[in-house]
C-alpha cells in the first residue's frame, strides 16, 4: 500500500517539499544545538525546561487520546466511522514519534539516550511514560495498518484487533497519568502535589488530542475532499467537548481545594497559600506569574469551543 505515497498531484508534492525544507532547516539548527549545548535554547538555571518539554508532554497526550476513537470504533461503541479510526491510529503513532523526538532534543547528552534502557530506574516516571508509549505505538501501528488494509481490500478486519485495542486502552490511559507523575517528582519545588493533577492531565490531553485530530480531519476533508464518513466530525467534536468539560470540572475542583485561589472554598490540610495558586489561578496579576497567559488561553479555548459547536450544529 506504500506505493500510494508515491503518487499525487502538484499540491501533494508541494506540501512534501515544504515539509522536507522544514525538516532540513530544523535539523540544521538542531546540529547547532548539538554542537554548542543547550545554552543555545536560552534555557538556564532558573528556567530549565521550555518548549521542548511542553511539546513532549503535549504530543504524548495526543498519542494517548486517540484511544477514545480507536476503542469506540473497534469495540463498536457509538457510531465512529472506520476511516476516522484509521486516521486516529496513525496520528497516535506519529505523535508518539514527535513526542520522543522532542524528548531527545531536550536532552543534554542525546547520544546517551539508550541509558534509559540499559539502566532503567523503575522509580522514575519517565521510564514508564516511554514504556507505555512504546507499547501504544506498536499497537497503534499494527491496528492502523490492519484496519487500513482491510478497508483497502474491502474485507472485515482481523479478530486480533479487538484484543489489541483492549491491551491498548490501559497503555494509552497510563501515558498522561505517568506524565502527571513526572510533574509530581518536582514536588520539592511545590509545583504539582495535588492528586487531581493526574485526572486533569488525562482529561486535558484527551481534549487537546481529540481537537488536534478534529483539525487534522477537517483539513483533510477540506483540502483533499476525502470522505470521512457520515457524522465523523460531529462524533469527534462531541468526544473532545466531553473531555474539555471534564477538564474544566477538574480545574474547578483544584481551584476550590487549593488555598489562595479566587475560588478557595475547602481548605485541604493546609491554610497557607499554595505557591501555584498565585501563579496560575489568581484573579489579579502578580509579578512573575503566568496569570494573564492562563486566563487568555482559557478564553481562547472557550471561543474555539463555541465556534466548533456552532460549526458542528450547522453541518448536522
Amino acid at each position: 500500500m506504500l506505493e500510494k505515497a508515491l503518487g499525487g498531484g502538484k499540491l501533494y508534492w508541494g506540501w512534501m517539499t515544504f515539509l522536507l525544507v522544514v525538516f532540513i532547516v530544523g535539523f540544521k539548527y538542531y546540529l547547532r544545538q548539538f554542537g554548542a549545548g543547550m545554552a543555545l535554547t536560552g534555557l538556564g538555571r532558573e528556567v530549565s525546561y521550555g518548549l521542548y518539554a511542553s511539546q513532549f508532554m503535549f504530543f504524548a497526550g495526543v498519542s494517548a487520546s486517540t484511544i477514545a476513537v480507536t476503542a469506540a470504533h473497534h469495540l463498536q461503541i457509538g457510531k465512529t466511522p472506520g476511516r476516522v479510526a484509521v486516521l486516529a491510529e496513525f496520528l497516535s503513532a506519529v505523535s508518539a514519534i514527535i513526542s520522543v523526538v522532542f524528548l531527545i532534543a531536550n536532552l543534554g547528552q542525546p547520544t546517551r539516550l539508550l541509558n534509559l534502557l540499559f539502566y532503567p530506574a523503575f522509580n522514575s516516571p519517565l521510564f514508564w511514560v516511554l514504556t507505555a508509549m512504546t507499547i501504544n505505538f506498536a499497537l497503534n501501528i499494527s491496528i492502523g495498518w490492519a484496519a487500513l488494509h482491510a478497508q483497502y481490500k474491502d474485507v472485515t478486519p482481523p479478530d486480533w484487533i479487538v484484543l489489541a485495542v483492549y491491551v491498548s486502552i490501559p497503555c494509552a490511559l497510563s501515558i498522561p497519568i505517568f506524565i502527571s507523575f513526572m510533574y509530581s517528582t518536582a514536588a520539592g519545588t511545590s509545583t504539582a502535589v495535588y492528586a487531581i493533577t493526574a485526572a486533569r492531565y488525562l482529561a486535558s490531553s484527551f481534549a487537546g488530542g481529540l481537537l488536534h485530530l478534529y483539525v487534522f480531519c477537517f483539513a483533510l476533508k477540506t483540502v483533499s475532499k476525502y470522505d470521512l464518513g457520515e457524522g465523523a466530525l460531529k462524533t469527534l467534536g462531541t468526544y473532545a467537548v466531553i473531555a474539555l468539560v471534564l477538564n474544566f470540572v477538574f480545574m474547578a475542583m483544584q481551584m476550590v481545594t487549593m488555598p489562595g485561589t479566587a475560588l478557595t472554598f475547602f481548605a485541604g490540610g493546609t491554610l497557607s497559600a499554595h505557591p501555584m495558586a498565585s501563579q496560575l489561578y489568581s484573579p489579579t496579576y502578580i509579578e512573575g506569574s503566568v496569570v494573564h497567559g492562563i486566563w487568555a488561553m482559557g478564553l481562547m479555548i472557550l471561543t474555539v469551543l463555541y465556534r466548533v459547536t456552532v460549526a458542528v450544529r450547522a453541518k448536522a
Partner: protein
C-alpha cells in the same frame, strides 16, 4: 534459510523504521552468525584494587555538615569556600547567570530558608549570607527522579553522581528543592579559571553538584570548603554521638533547609548557642535507618516554626515528626 523478496523488504523496512540499522537486520536474516564472531570476555579478571587503598580514608556511617552561620558575616566569607570548591573540582565560572554552575553558592536567608521563622531568627541573621550547597539528603528527591540511576545515594549518606551515565534530562534539577544542582548548558572546560589535574572535568549537557569531596575523604583529607572556612564548617559522622559534629550540634541551636519536605537534609546551620535546652537533654538521637524526621523534642531544629502565613502548619508538622 530461504527468503523471498517480499519478506526481505519487510524485514529491511521494519528495521529501518525502528532505527535498528544493519545489526538487527543481519540478526534477523542470518541469526547467530554475528555474535559467534565476537570474542567472549576474558573470565576471572580480578577487579582493580581501589585507589589510595594505603591511605587512611575518612569514613562515616552518615556524613553530615555543620555550617556555623555565626562565623559567616560577609559574602566574602562564603565566597572563600566557594572559590576553594571551584579550584578543587574544576567548576566553571560563567558571566551569564543562566549558565551558572556552582556546587556551593552564596545565598540570602530567604533563598536558603524560604518561609522559615523563629524567635531566635533575628534581623541580623536574616541579613547574613549563607553557604547553599547539596544537603546530601537522607531521602533525596533527585535520586527518585533520575531515570538512569546516574545519581545515587551511597551507604555513608553522600549523594553522588555518575557524569558518564547522566543523559542531561534535568529531572533531578526540577526535583531538588534546594537548587543544589547545576546543568552544563555549554562546554564548561572553556570557563575553568584554574585547572586541578587531579579531578576530572565535566562535559556539556550533564548535571553536576557537590560531592561532599568524597575523593578527598578517600585520601584522608577534609572537604575543600571545610579547609577554606577556617573552622566555620565542620563535617563528621552524625551517627556517632561522640563525634565532633554531634557534640557541636548538641551544644548549639541549628536549623536545616526546608525540613517540612521530609528530605532529611544532612547540612545543619548553627545560628545560636543552645540556651533553652541544657546540653545533657539534647544528645542527638540519630537513627541511620530512618529516612524521616526523628522525634521533634530531641531534634531542636524541629521546633522552629515556619514564618508568616505558614505558622498554622506547625501542629501538623510536629505530628509528622513523631512517626
Amino acid at each position: 534459510m530461504t527468503i523471498n523478496r517480499r519478506d526481505f523488504l519487510k524485514i529491511a523496512g521494519i528495521s529501518a523504521v525502528l532505527g535498528f540499522g544493519e545489526f538487527t537486520a543481519y540478526e534477523l536474516l542470518r541469526p547467530g552468525e554475528l555474535f559467534a564472531k565476537t570474542p567472549a570476555p576474558p573470565k576471572g579478571t580480578a577487579a582493580a584494587p581501589p585507589q589510595d587503598a594505603g591511605l587512611r580514608a575518612l569514613t562515616a556511617n552518615r556524613w553530615a555538615m555543620a555550617v556555623d552561620a555565626r562565623k559567616f558575616n560577609s559574602p566574602e566569607d562564603v565566597q572563600k569556600c566557594s572559590d576553594a570548591c571551584k579550584r578543587t573540582h574544576n567548576v566553571p565560572t560563567f558571566d551569564d547567570a543562566r549558565r551558572d554552575v556552582n556546587w556551593l553558592r552564596t545565598a540570602t536567608f530567604d533563598q536558603t530558608f524560604p518561609g522559615l521563622t523563629d524567635d531566635r531568627i533575628t534581623d541580623a541573621l536574616i541579613k547574613k549570607p549563607y553557604a547553599a550547597l547539596c544537603n546530601h539528603c537522607g531521602d533525596p528527591p533527585c535520586v527518585r527522579a533520575c531515570p538512569t540511576g546516574a545519581t545515587f545515594k551511597r551507604k555513608d549518606g553522600i549523594v553522588a553522581m555518575d557524569y558518564h551515565r547522566c543523559i542531561g534530562c534535568r529531572m533531578c534539577m526540577a526535583a531538588c528543592p534546594y537548587g543544589a544542582r547545576s546543568f552544563n548548558f555549554s562546554d564548561p572546560r572553556e570557563h575553568i579559571k584554574e585547572f586541578n589535574r587531579e579531578f576530572p572535568t565535566r562535559t556539556k549537557g550533564v548535571v553536576e553538584k557537590c560531592t561532599f569531596c568524597s575523593e578527598r575523604l578517600q585520601k584522608g583529607l577534609l572537604p575543600a570548603c571545610v579547609e577554606a572556612s577556617g573552622g566555620a564548617v565542620t563535617v563528621g559522622d552524625i551517627a556517632d554521638p561522640k563525634s565532633e559534629i554531634s557534640t557541636l550540634l548538641a551544644a548549639n541551636y541549628s536549623i536545616r533547609r526546608r525540613l517540612e519536605l521530609g528530605t532529611e537534609p544532612g547540612v545543619y546551620y548553627i545560628i545560636a548557642p543552645d540556651t533553652v535546652n541544657p546540653a545533657e537533654n539534647s544528645t542527638p538521637n540519630f537513627d541511620k535507618n530512618s529516612t524521616r524526621n526523628s522525634d521533634g523534642k530531641s531534634r531542636k531544629e524541629n521546633v522552629v516554626a515556619p514564618r508568616r502565613e505558614e505558622r498554622k502548619n506547625s501542629d501538623g508538622k510536629s505530628k509528622k515528626g513523631g512517626k
